[in-house]
């Protein structure tokens, strides 16, 4: 199969940048990584890119295709170069480029380091024998444990583009992997640290991370779980947390968001007063709806009673998000029944029966 592609070449030592076209012959099954190998072997040995496992495990070959981050080894060239389209391949975003498709991962690792990516068991006594973790306990952090540190989620993170110090989706998802681990003893300290400036509440909810992650980690959901755990633990001093709390208060009092009071409730009265000039300009346009009389939804008593009721049912914090994950998982694995086996190895059908090479079909 003939394939055309363009690659953004870059040399940080000279600052030279150029979009170069290439045309190669590859098999129908070739991945983007296979294609780059052919370009490098046959056309231009100076092309730089990272690779290692070739099977979506090592996380080395993150790069952009037409502006969106992918793993080159998970991407079929036939899919991205279909119908005469010439894909443009470039380095990932939000990380400094070293050469061509190779980025400097140091800022990524520094943020990973900042969240303390290791268990702090704080056992007060030596346990005898193994410290067994429950299935439910591991299921709660299963998604976050799938991360391979490829950086695809970071590449298009809109908050990080605006604030390069933002911890970002990969580090925060890793943070939940430890906050949610029942063996960890530093949960409160972690939530305090992750709730600081450039942490949980800097996420702008653009959902690019969920869209790009090649492993189904859904980092945005992990950040929401951290927020939920922080609020449950009473770590709610940040303006982002106060903003979220006001939505809850609104829903159970008037039903609809009390928009105008959101500003002082989020920023505090002193800071809100500084916004008065801004608010005055919006007032004649109806963009600052008067808080009184409040806009109350009909039957709002139901909404308040619902809040009181669910608070007694033990699904506070991240558990409230995790409870929906089996159903959401069906979006990617439509065949999985929610009430079916909770683990692939529980299902006897997961083991193919052995059959001889001469058999036309597996023995049933």
């Amino acid at each position: 199969m003939k394939v055309e592609l363009k690659i953004w070449r870059y040399d940080a030592s000279t600052g030279e940048r150029a979009l170069r076209p290439y045309e190669v012959d590859v098999s129908e099954e070739a991945t983007l990584l296979d294609t780059l190998d052919v370009v490098k072997d046959r056309l231009d040995g100076t092309l730089a890119y990272r690779k290692s496992c070739r099977m979506m495990i090592c996380g080395s070959c993150g790069m952009r295709v037409d502006g969106g981050a992918v793993l080159a080894c998970k991407t079929r060239i036939a899919d991205i170069a279909a119908d005469g389209h010439v894909p443009v391949v470039s380095a990932m975003g939000n990380l400094p480029i070293v050469k061509d498709l190779v980025v400097d991962m140091d800022p990524f690792w520094q943020k990973m380091q900042a969240i303390q990516p290791y268990l702090e068991p704080r056992l007060d006594r030596a346990t005898e024998g193994e410290n067994i973790v429950s299935r439910e306990g591991m299921d709660a952090i299963h998604k976050e444990s799938l991360c391979i540190n490829c950086g695809c989620c970071v590449s298009e993170c809109n908050s990080m583009e605006s604030d390069p110090d933002f911890l970002g989706p990969a580090a925060l998802a890793k943070g939940f992997r430890f906050v949610g681990d029942e063996r960890d003893g530093a949960t409160v300290e972690r939530l305090e640290r992750y709730s600081e400036e450039h942490g949980i509440w800097d996420c702008t909810r653009c959902y690019f991370c969920n869209e790009r992650c090649p492993k189904g980690v859904d980092p945005r959901d992990a950040i929401a779980k951290l927020g939920a755990e922080a609020m449950k633990t009473g770590i709610d001093r940040d303006m982002g947390a106060k903003h979220a709390k006001w939505f809850v208060t609104s829903a159970k009092t008037t039903g609809w968001l009390r928009e105008t009071e959101l500003v002082p409730k989020t920023q505090g009265v002193v800071k809100a007063i500084k916004e008065i000039k801004f608010a005055m300009a919006l007032l004649p346009k109806g963009k600052v709806p008067p808080p009184f009389p409040p806009h109350v939804a009909a039957d709002v008593g139901e909404s308040r009673a619902l809040f009181d009721l669910v608070k007694t049912q033990g699904r506070d914090g991240a558990a409230g998000i995790i409870q929906g994950e089996k159903a959401l998982g069906q979006l990617e694995h439509p065949g999985d029944a929610v009430d079916g086996p909770s683990h692939p190895y529980d299902d006897p059908r997961s083991f193919p029966k052995p059959y001889l090479p001469d058999d036309e079909e597996p023995a049933t």
Binding site: D202, D218, A228, M231, A298, D299, G301
Partner: protein
């Protein structure tokens, strides 16, 4: 006339009333009767999902239950954030019988209807760009006189695509098709699928403004007369926070921002009292002059 339950959400009820009036006026012209929901509340935005996720699920189940009670099998939204929240909760409820049963029992205990008959939550944009698209050219009989319009999608109508699924999240074209059908010229620019910064505009203003400036600046450079968006939160930040961009960067963009229903509404000849452009912070005057209205 197809009947759809109509969930207007918080902003269209208050600070973005112009979105509500223009949507209501436009709906019958494109073949929809909107069924009002009186007893519903805020969907929680991303905020209740993050602060009290179990409560978020119940609030949205309650909205879906009231939508089902209208007899329609569809719930129409006019806000990206409402769309994601409702679709996410709906997917959980439709695909997990035990979870739905627990939520329904709770709804019943507080006197709300149970969510029994399935409802699909769809954004107004999807109806216009989908099943009603063939009728659009006739509805938009007055045209837009080749006005250059920059489409701004916002985030939560595109991503996560496994929940939204209407179009390619990286190469959407529904707004472009609508702009063209209404007689305008769609302007292309990279930030059209990025974030407007609204969710963190109060808690992290600098970061949010760094996001907000991109679509406005790029649309301006590409020669757009106005930006159109299907989301009232995007509308609010793009429209009202331009003055903050001016203060921060010295750049005075004066870029008019249209709700989707207003863009089609202008082309369909809706009245001033339905379009309510006077409620915008950035003046619509230059656009109206080009249209000779």
């Amino acid at each position: 006339m197809k009947q759809v339950a109509y969930y207007k959400g918080c902003l269209a009820s208050l600070s973005a009333k112009e979105l509500d009036t223009s949507t209501r006026a436009l709906a019958p012209k494109i073949g929809y009767e909107l069924l009002e929901l009186d007893s519903v509340t805020c969907c929680g935005a991303g905020d209740i999902h993050e602060a009290e996720p179990d409560y978020y699920l119940h609030l949205n189940a309650r909205i879906l239950a009231y939508a089902a009670a209208t007899g329609s099998d569809r719930l129409m939204t006019v806000c990206n954030v409402c769309t994601l929240n409702l679709r996410q909760a709906n997917h959980q409820l439709l695909n997990d019988a035990a979870l739905r049963e627990r939520v329904n029992d709770n709804l019943e205990r507080v006197g709300a209807p149970r969510y029994e008959t399935d409802v699909d939550c769809v954004h107004f944009l999807w109806l216009v760009a989908g099943e009603s698209f063939p009728a659009l050219r006739d509805v938009a009989h007055k045209g837009l006189r080749g006005l250059k319009i920059a489409p701004f999608y916002g985030c939560q109508i595109l991503r996560p695509s496994k929940l939204m699924g209407f179009e390619d999240p990286d190469k959407p074209d529904s707004l472009e098709r609508i702009i063209t059908a209404c007689g305008g010229e769609p302007i292309d620019y990279p930030a059209k699928i990025k974030c407007c910064g609204f969710p963190i505009i109060q808690a992290r203003e600098d970061t949010a403004l760094g996001e907000l400036i991109q679509p406005i600046e790029q649309a301006k450079e590409a020669g757009a007369d106005a930006i159109v968006t299907p989301c009232p939160l995007c509308h609010l930040s793009l429209d009202a926070w331009q003055s903050k961009l001016k203060k921060q960067t010295g750049k005075d963009f004066q870029m008019p921002i249209l709700h989707l229903s207003q863009l089609i509404g202008v082309a369909a000849g809706l009245s001033d009292s339905e379009l309510r452009f006077k409620r915008h912070v950035v003046s619509m005057e230059p656009v109206l002059q080009k249209l000779a209205l």
